[in-house]
Amino acid sequence: MSQMISRFLLLTAIGILFLCGCAFPSENVSMVDRLRDVQVQSAIGLIDIVKEELGDASCRNEIEFQISLFHLENSHPTEREKITARLRRLYPAYSFLDREAADGCFADSRSGRRIVIITIAETAVEGDGLISCGGTITYGSLGSSGFTFFFRENSGRFLLEKIQIANAIG
């Protein structure tokens, strides 16, 4: 009798444990979070290009970065703020503008710094786990440069595979 009870208890314990596993929330990153991650990674790529071209000291002292999203809406503040906040944490020594600069305005009267606009553009599906994201650096009167970043997705993380120069507007 006691053997039957112990077997029953063991089976019940096994069942409860299996159900616990079923109920345990799996760590799934949403597609929106992944898309934002691609955009942030592209912005990091663009900022690193500016750093390479103008130098770290210039980026720290003379420049204010403005993040712009290439949406059909003129601005998408919540998304821009989220991406800017992540970049601020990654580049604490750099300045980031909280707002969108007025069209054609590349010198901020408040800080006296030159504004460099980092525009995150379209995302395209390249197949085989590859995603591309276009981006532009606008240096004001010095012109703009366009780049396409290719990322390979691996377990929800995006690894930069290659960068293509899309265009250079003098």
Binding site: F18, F24, S30, M31, V32, L72, E122, T123, G127, I131
Partner: protein, 155 residues
């Protein structure tokens, strides 16, 4: 035969429970491609419902990788065997060809909420007047919202 220790059995059981309920992982690209297909299906149904304008659709999608664009067109052909789907590089009538319905999925997209992405689709049934829609997709790749964004004329 040696029986594995009890903690190992329990760990495997817990893992089996987790695996039983975890959805299979999907690439972001697969998700976006599925969303785009559903957006185009919605656009085809809108265009087809707007009158008898022929059964030829010219589809412009932003994928530079032609295989991705071809796959999307193939799926549309399988879904609507009575219609003709042709790829389009530009959102304008092809010179010398019979008129068809133009559909352009714009490359711009906007994160709209924790699980919502907004896309923009232009449709022209008469190759002259264009209605641009803002369409939202949800986490299940379904079109969950639709509004007219603008109306304009092709040059």
């Amino acid at each position: 035969m040696r029986i594995p220790p009890l903690p190992l059995i329990l760990l495997h059981l817990f893992g089996a429970g987790c695996a039983a309920t975890s959805p299979p992982e999907k690439f972001l690209g697969e998700y976006l491609a599925a969303c785009k297909l559903n957006l185009l299906k919605k656009s085809v149904s809108i265009a087809a419902a707007s009158g008898d304008h022929g059964l030829t659709f010219r589809i412009a999608v932003p994928e530079y990788n032609t295989q991705v664009a071809t796959d999307i067109l193939e799926k549309l052909r399988a879904e609507y065997p009575a219609y003709t789907f042709l790829p389009a590089d530009f959102f304008e009538p092809a010179p010398g060809s019979p008129p068809g319905i133009l559909i352009r999925l714009h490359p711009q997209l906007a994160i709209d909420g924790p699980e919502t992405i907004a896309f923009f689709v232009s449709i022209s049934v008469d190759s002259a007047n264009v209605t641009m829609y803002r369409m939202q997709v949800n986490a299940q790749e379904e079109v969950s919202g639709l509004s007219v964004w603008s109306r304009y004329q092709l040059q």
